[in-house]
Symmetry: C2
Subunit: 294 residues, 2 copies
């Protein structure tokens, strides 16, 4: 069956959820790198960064901007009522409106494969970056302003976190309490059988996939936060980093594609440092820069 | 004075000089990352890679394709007779026709700042990749088929190699014999004074700059050959790698820009592995791939 005219592609260059304007460039380059869309496409406008620090609003950086962008994404999706959604982020929080929509559309029975080194179930008590809270919100937990946008929370037992690394005590407690499943790279294995067994055991008929690029080993895929070449040594000490590679993620997604109907795909946290830094230098070079004297 | 309408921009996605089709993607992305051109622009067509190995022809891989592309670049430049040239490569050999043209135009007095970890003065006796021979050809040495395209060879004493790393005995011998100057990153220093002194001592009025991205430290800028994440460990043992960073190259170019007239700028050897690999995966993902079933 042809999906193309029922698949909405959302370009969502949100940066406030990770408080890093580099996500804007990352989203645009991700769009450039993606096959052209044959269906409808919406671009969510995000506030441009300013010289001022993003305000900390009741425990969340950029709360008002994030909520406004969340509403805009909901409106864009409502205009199309798509069967399927592709989301090109932007920080992880871009998947909040799309996955909430999909779970409503599929009667609260949506399965979610959350491919991520982190569970994204924090609350403002632990951290002020909302991109670390999005899966918690989708399950109906966390900050009221965000979770109230999720009309039909995901069934926690329909969520599988793949590629999960070491978790903090508060994260482990959340996953245990709600019965969210997870597997590290070794458990996924070479044939994805453990994930396929979970899909079949849960009877998942419609699946949304969140692919956070920071599930990838930053020594092999360097376009992620932890591979920032300008970060001082030790900047990310104690923070869990990814351990998968691009081909193993591709294989996992391809394997589950044969077992269930993939209705959502979000790709997030693209921070292409080389392209960002090179582009900035090219803009200043003689014969290339656009200035009155060039 | 306004240069824009006298500056020709050449997009030259040549890959055969380094026998690596990834240069095609690298050139296109370099073009995407560059400020839009306000003047004329030419794209040199290059043969697409095939499943067959690039033929070794009388000591040089892809000799016939390279010579055909060299002629095409000459023709494109001849159509415009520009005062200034920007070249977006492609492998290092892309600067052969442009720099030969500029030296003719500026009466054999062109200065060349060759920002590169390698001197590019090999011959087919040492290696079969023509991108390692281009500066030798510009000085009038090396393979006859290539050097005969250089009507007015560069004065070797008008060439400065900046960022040069350890050289092979045959390379050191060439540089000594011809009197080509070079400086490593430490000699260039923070104020570029040694290079500026050389420009003034040589009376360089028109300067072309070759910026081989592999002059950059591959642990900080990963879009170069030596940072290929799929290369087996030890692949580049014994091969000189870059030791500069983007900002120090920008500073050097900005410094010399105040002292002489920059008439040429070639940027080469862009191999953006993350973008190449991610793009390849995106093309295969459900909801993104363009296939009969998507």
């Amino acid at each position: 069956m042809s999906h193309s005219n029922r698949t909405l592609r959302l370009l969502f260059p949100q940066w406030q959820g990770g408080n890093n304007p580099a996500y804007i460039f990352g989203a645009k380059l991700l769009d450039y790198l993606s096959p052209a869309s044959t269906g409808p496409r919406e671009v969510i406008n995000v506030d441009a960064p300013t010289d001022d620090e993003l305000p900390l609003e009741n425990g969340i950086r950029g709360r008002q901007a994030l909520l406004r962008q969340l509403s805009d994404a909901e409106d864009a999706i409502a205009r199309h009522q798509p069967e399927r959604l592709v989301v090109l982020g932007g920080d992880c929080l871009v998947d909040l409106a799309p996955f909430a929509y999909l779970n409503e559309r599929y009667n609260g029975e949506l399965g979610v494969l959350w491919i991520d080194a982190h569970p994204d179930v924090m609350t403002p008590k632990e951290f002020d970056h909302a991109h670390a809270m999005v899966l918690g919100n989708l399950i109906g937990e966390g900050d009221d302003d965000f979770r109230r946008h999720v009309k039909t929370p995901l069934k926690p037992e329909n969520v599988m976190i793949a590629g999960l690394g070491a978790t903090l005590p508060s994260e482990s407690e959340f996953l245990d309490k709600h019965g969210v499943s997870s597997m590290g790279p070794a458990e996924i294995g070479d044939d994805s059988m453990a994930i396929i067994d979970w899909i079949e055991a849960r009877g998942i008929r419609h699946l949304a996939i969140h692919f956070d690029l920071d599930v990838l080993d930053p020594s092999h895929f360097r376009s992620v936060l932890f591979a920032d070449p300008t970060a001082p040594i030790g900047s990310f000490d104690g923070i869990t980093q990814g351990d998968m590679n691009l081909n193993s993620v591709l294989r996992l997604i391809t394997d589950v594609d044969t077992k269930t109907d993939i209705v959502g795909l979000g790709i997030t946290e693209h921070l292409p440092w080389d392209a960002i830094n090179l582009s900035s230098v090219l803009a200043k070079l003689p014969l290339l820069r656009s200035s009155p004297s060039a």
